[in-house]
Amino acid sequence: MTMDELDPVIHASARLKITATLATLPVGDQIAFPRLQELLGMTAGNLSTHLRKLEDAGYVDVVKSHQGRTPATYLALSRSGRRAFEDYLEALRALLGESA
């Protein structure tokens, strides 16, 4: 196993931080886009770009809803996204010689 073989969808600093943040949510919870943006300190545009890549890979579920008249976007790791993150973490630890 080398760094090159790590899941390329997650293995980019912005997407790594996004998946790491979403992984702290308990299963069944979703986080609002502005709050996620605040926790990551990213611009809305940059966050949207990376979220789209994660969504295209099937790692992130995007739920669009309305709070009153205001549209709201909620995000969560999908089941495969959570599994991919756990596999990524395990692979990274294996690279460092740590057991999972």
Binding site: D29, E38, T49, L92, R93, L95
Partner: protein, 215 residues
């Protein structure tokens, strides 16, 4: 290296730095959730410590060094209590803001338990007074009941969120609240100021230090 850094991302070439980035981000998220909790412990620590020291000093049989007039001590206590309740409500809402889903129910029940238990203990105390509970015993009952209420709810919080700080705090509050009655009135005010106020302040300090150390 994969071609995955074309979007302005910093390249991830070192596994140790990558793991540090990942763990650092998760720690930041947990710290952001914990900050309001530290503030709550601090605010309630000050309220129990200063508020009950004021009540103890407002009783002629209390503080041997100086006495505060009762018309000052009681309002000080009430104002601090109300301010802390308002601050807790505001901070409590901030802890999990922007999150919806399964855990929201747990959080809502936890939040409701403070209001429900607080009201129930107040009604019970009022009922006991209506049945002849003396002012001296009421002075023992009310603060002890609220220390026990806080202790019990913190044990629930510890179970919900696997939070050791709430477990320790809950056990200390139960012990101090139960034992305070043996000190009689107004000695119980001093026991609660030091025991409950001290426990909250130590919990706030411990979490703040651990947070700064990145643990």
């Amino acid at each position: 290296m994969n071609n995955n850094t074309t979007d302005g991302d910093e390249p991830l070439v070192d596994p140790r730095a990558t793991l540090a980035l990942l763990e650092g981000q998760q720690r930041e998220v947990l710290n952001a959730q914990q900050a309001p909790v530290i503030w709550m412990y601090f605010i309630w620590g000050i309220t129990w410590f200063v508020g009950f020291l004021a009540l103890w000093s407002g009783d002629v049989d209390g503080n041997p060094w100086f006495t505060i007039p009762g018309y000052v001590a009681t309002p000080v206590f009430i104002v601090m209590l109300v301010a802390s309740i308002v601050a807790s409500a505001v901070l409590g809402i901030r802890i999990n803001r922007g999150v919806r889903g399964a855990s929201v129910f747990s959080g809502a029940v936890y939040g409701l338990s403070w209001t429900a238990c607080g009201t129930a203990f107040a009604v019970l105390g009022t009922g006991l007074i209506s049945q002849g509970l003396s002012p001296e015993l009421a002075n023992l009952y009310f603060p002890a009941a609220y220390a026990l209420m806080c202790g019990t709810i913190y044990l629930g919080g510890a179970a919900l969120w696997r939070d050791v700080s709430q477990l320790v705090l809950g056990l200390v509050l139960l012990a101090v609240g139960a034992a305070s009655s043996f000190a009689g009135s107004p000695g119980n005010d001093l026991v609660l100021a030091l025991g409950v106020g001290g426990a909250f302040l130590i919990a706030a300090g411990t979490l703040a230090v651990r947070r700064r150390q990145g643990r």
